[in-house]
């Protein structure tokens, strides 16, 4: 093991046990570094690549890795253009730097919207192609041949009987000029893209060596936990910390804007100290409605204007009212609960505050905003953020208001110079808000005598996600599309269509949750259209294909593929759904068994069109996981407030999620495509809920319109 104890100086003091890079640099197996090694004589042709004398190539990954695969996927793009050997490739988190490492889709550094591959595809290939050109130029000089006589295969440059590795040429390549517009390969030249390359982070995630924020231990570090308000919008009225300070190991208690912070020598003492706090909370601005009351209000707002903070007419074509009057009308109301993301690793981070600078280790999903918030909270300029591997996110770590970075900054500020780890417990996580918004849909449609949909009138009541945050400007004064994406631009076209968003308000904080608006619009649209098709006596697949017309070939492509895949001969219920989200197209068919009145999903077939599949194995894994994540929520999950505003769920015992016995067998096929790659992290999630609900309705006659399907008693 090569221990980079000197890297960037500021890591001095980091306990070596957690600072070990995953792999010795010359080991012939792809891997990653827990922290970016120092340059150490490496050649850095650009911001994304380092070639070391020992012949390893490290790719700096601007996106956080939490299972969706950018460490492997983006490294593949560079390896492809270099014609590197996969075994010599390494990945490492890029530093936080909005100029060098912005998400091309956001204009700042951050990960979200299933955009990592799509926005990096050309950027990383060009970075690899530029390095390749410089290596070839260096080899041409060394070998004394023209550049066009040099070939590269598995990391070795050759001309005639002369050869050299990247490592051997790195020093000479460093003096070559980088091309302005490097030429990337054409798809027929791909050797690595499109293959199931082994992931760079698998081994370390199998033997306990992968390092997450929770695993960072610094010399003299205290652990802090914060007592947060038990109701949304409540604040601290008074605090008695005398008992907490008596707990052995507790060093300090401090009131911060987010609550009351307890600092201790170790985690257990911090938790024990927090439990000993006596806090009076001021509930005067708190949410005191129950979610049952909110659902009633949201339902009224979805059905008619005048019940919301603001009613937005998002889309209107034709004359919906005219088309509905006198026609055979079908109406359905769908209720979607608040959902917590509950990533396996709760929110956590480590900060070491100096006099005028800070080093931070956290699973930051929006580095630019997190760094800016830390700097402004602490009143310093120099914040160096190390983006750590994170134990899942599903949207939870992408915070427009940077609330966790703000809390970490306040915890550090109240403590003063030194090192602190801030840990949220599972209870902090589940009760901490930033939920998928509670949402109610109401849809009315008219059918003509031939069963054609002649009108579609859709009302959605939900809180916004962008409005009220620093991201609001992106909306340019328009409605918050996070509430209705997937219901807008309805692909089951009707001449008379209206979409209305009722903007609801509550102190309960909201956030994007894997697939954002599609997590509910996909369910409402796909369940409702399935009911309409059934009423019209049409087949769910043929009927959808007909409704999709000629303008939606990729939706039709995945539908046709999944229909070929599925074996629907069993004595079970079968349901289908197709959803486009984040520019990818996914169709699923679920096989559902009635087990004592509760749906059990036995098998799922899934067809996905995500453009070019850079690593098909990762695409399949994201579909499998997206299905599991979506099914878990649809079956079991909801956050509820009791009358008075108390949150009922506390931990995974009261907020149950899917375990292995409930996981269906999943078969995934990827539609071949020459289109540029699009996202796979989220698009697997939306179709599973409606596929299961449609199977259930067709089997039992009972439509599922209130989620979760199996509420906790």
């Amino acid at each position: 093991m090569n221990i980079h104890t000197s890297r960037r100086g500021f890591l001095t003091g980091l306990i070596v046990a957690v600072a070990l890079p995953q792999l010795a640099r010359a080991e012939a197996r792809p891997g990653y570094f827990n922290e970016l090694p120092a340059l150490d004589g490496d050649w850095a042709p650009n911001a994304f690549i380092r070639v070391a004398p020992d012949n390893t190539v490290t790719v700096l990954i601007k996106h956080i890795e939490f299972g969706q695969g950018p460490y492997t996927g983006l490294t593949t793009l560079v390896a492809e253009e270099l014609d590197a050997d996969w075994g010599q490739m390494r990945a490492a988190a890029a530093p936080a730097d909005a100029e060098k490492y912005a998400n091309m889709a956001f204009g700042m550094q951050g990960t979200g919207g299933s955009s990592s591959m799509a926005n990096s595809f050309m950027q990383m290939r060009k970075a690899g192609a530029a390095a390749r050109a410089m290596l070839v130029a260096a080899a041409a000089e060394k070998f004394g041949v023209p550049a066009d006589q040099i070939t590269i295969e598995k990391g070795v440059l050759k001309a005639g009987d002369q050869s050299a590795s990247f490592g051997e040429l790195a020093e000479a390549a460093a003096s070559q000029t980088a091309p302005d517009d490097p030429q990337v390969k054409s798809p027929d030249q791909f050797r690595l893209i499109g293959t199931d390359l082994p992931k760079v982070d698998t081994k370390a995630k199998t033997d306990g060596q992968a390092e997450f924020s929770l695993d960072v231990y610094l010399d003299g570090m205290l652990t802090a936990v914060v007592a947060h308000p038990p109701k949304f919008g409540a604040t601290v009225a008074s605090v008695d910390d005398s008992a907490a300070l008596q707990v052995a190991g507790v060093q300090k208690v401090a009131q911060i804007p987010q609550g009351v912070a307890v600092y201790a020598d170790n985690t257990f003492a911090a938790l024990k100290g927090r439990a000993a706090l006596e806090i009076d909370w001021d509930d005067s601005s708190a949410e005191t409605r129950s979610t049952d009351q909110m659902i009633d209000q949201w339902t009224a707002a979805a059905r008619a204007t005048g019940h919301a903070a603001r009613d937005w007419e998002v889309e209107a074509t034709g004359d919906v009212d005219q088309a509905l009057s006198g026609a055979e009308m079908v109406e359905a109301t769908y209720v979607f609960p608040y959902l917590a993301h509950t990533p396996m690793e709760p929110l956590d981070g480590v900060i070491r505050l100096g006099d005028r600078e800070a080093d931070v280790w956290m699973g930051s999903q929006m580095q630019t905003g997190d760094v800016g918030t830390l700097a402004s909270t602490l009143g310093i300029q120099n914040v160096r953020l190390n983006t750590m591997l994170a134990g899942g996110s599903f949207g939870r770590r992408a915070q427009p208001d940077a609330h966790f970075a703000a809390e970490l900054g306040e915890v550090a500020k109240a403590h003063g110079p030194g090192a602190v780890k801030l840990l949220w417990t599972r209870e902090d996580d589940i009760q901490g808000g930033y939920y998928r918004p509670l949402t109610v849909h109401n849809i009315r449609a008219a059918l003509d005598a031939d069963g054609n949909i002649t009108a579609w009138d859709h009302g959605i009541a939900a809180q916004p996600i962008f409005i009220g945050t620093p991201f609001e400007g992106m909306l340019q004064g328009g409605p918050d599309f996070s509430a209705f994406e997937g219901a807008s631009e309805l692909r089951y076209t009707t001449a008379n269509h209206r979409l209305r968003w009722a903007q609801m308000e509550s102190p309960v904080t909201t956030l994007w949750w894997r697939s954002v608006g599609h997590s509910h619009t996909g369910f409402a649209v796909e369940c409702f259209v399935d009911e309409l098709l059934e009423k019209a006596g049409r087949d769910p697949i043929e009927g959808r294909l007909a409704l999709l017309g000629d303008d939606h070939p990729r939706e039709k492509g995945v539908l046709q593929r999944v229909a070929q895949m599925a074996d629907m001969s069993g004595d079970f219920g079968y349901g289908v759904a197709v959803v486009k989200s984040f520019d990818s197209y996914v169709a699923q068919i679920a096989e559902v068994e009635d087990r004592g009145g509760i749906p059990h999903v036995r098998r799922v077939w899934c067809a996905v069109d995500c453009g070019l599949a850079v690593n098909p194995n990762i695409v399949r894994a994201q579909m499998e996981g997206g299905i599991g994540y979506g099914l878990s929520a649809v079956l079991f999950s909801e956050i509820t407030l009791d009358q008075g505003g108390t949150i009922r769920q506390q931990n995974w015992d009261s907020y149950p999620i899917m375990r292995i016995p409930q996981m269906p067998a999943v078969e995934v096929e990827i539609v071949q495509s020459a289109e540029p790659p699009t996202g796979v992290g989220e698009p697997g999630t939306p179709p599973i809920g409606p596929a299961v609900a449609n199977a259930w309705r067709r089997m039992t006659g009972k439509a599922l319109r209130r989620l979760p399907i199996v509420p906790v008693a």
Binding site: T202, K203, A269, G392
Partner: protein, 153 residues
């Protein structure tokens, strides 16, 4: 209070509050960070270790209970079943975020030590205490079957 036990075959003594869960002793005192915190109430299995050879949720095991015991963590996991499980996990890229996988590997290894040819139902029963929020369950089932085949020879 001083408590003595072995971890991965090494003698260790810690002087901590006797109510401290084994999880936090392993992590905060001994810096064995492969064992993870997920829930603190034995719901998720991310903290799974072996206590005297049996799987145990370290987050609800007070260190006072561990006096004189043998603890095995992911860092010290060894033997043919462990090797087969880790090789199978790696071969089909089971992990996504990876945070729960130490616990999954500990539970899967324990299953194969008891049952060399588990059915899907055996696997579902044995692994039901280990949550994977990424829902890598399809591959966990597959990898356990693959590991069992390897062990059969």
């Amino acid at each position: 209070m001083t408590i003595s036990f072995t971890v991965n075959g090494q003698d260790r003594s810690v002087d901590v509050d006797p109510d401290t869960p084994l999880l936090w002793v392993l992590r905060d005192e001994l810096r064995l960070t492969g064992t993870k915190f997920g829930c603190g109430i034995a719901q998720c299995g991310a903290c799974t270790v072996y206590l005297n050879g049996m799987t145990r949720r370290s987050c609800v095991t007070p260190i006072s209970m561990v006096e004189g015991s043998d603890v095995t963590t992911i860092e010290g996991l060894s033997g043919p079943e462990a090797e087969a499980v880790q090789a199978a996990w790696t071969a089909i890229d089971v992990p996504q975020c990876g945070y729960c996988q130490s616990g999954q590997v500990m539970s899967a290894t324990a299953l194969l030590q008891q049952n060399g040819a588990p059915t899907d139902e055996d696997i579902d029963n044995a692994m039901a205490g280990n949550i994977c929020r990424c829902a890598t369950y399809v591959r966990i089932r597959q990898a356990i079957h693959d590991a069992a085949k390897t062990l059969e020879g």
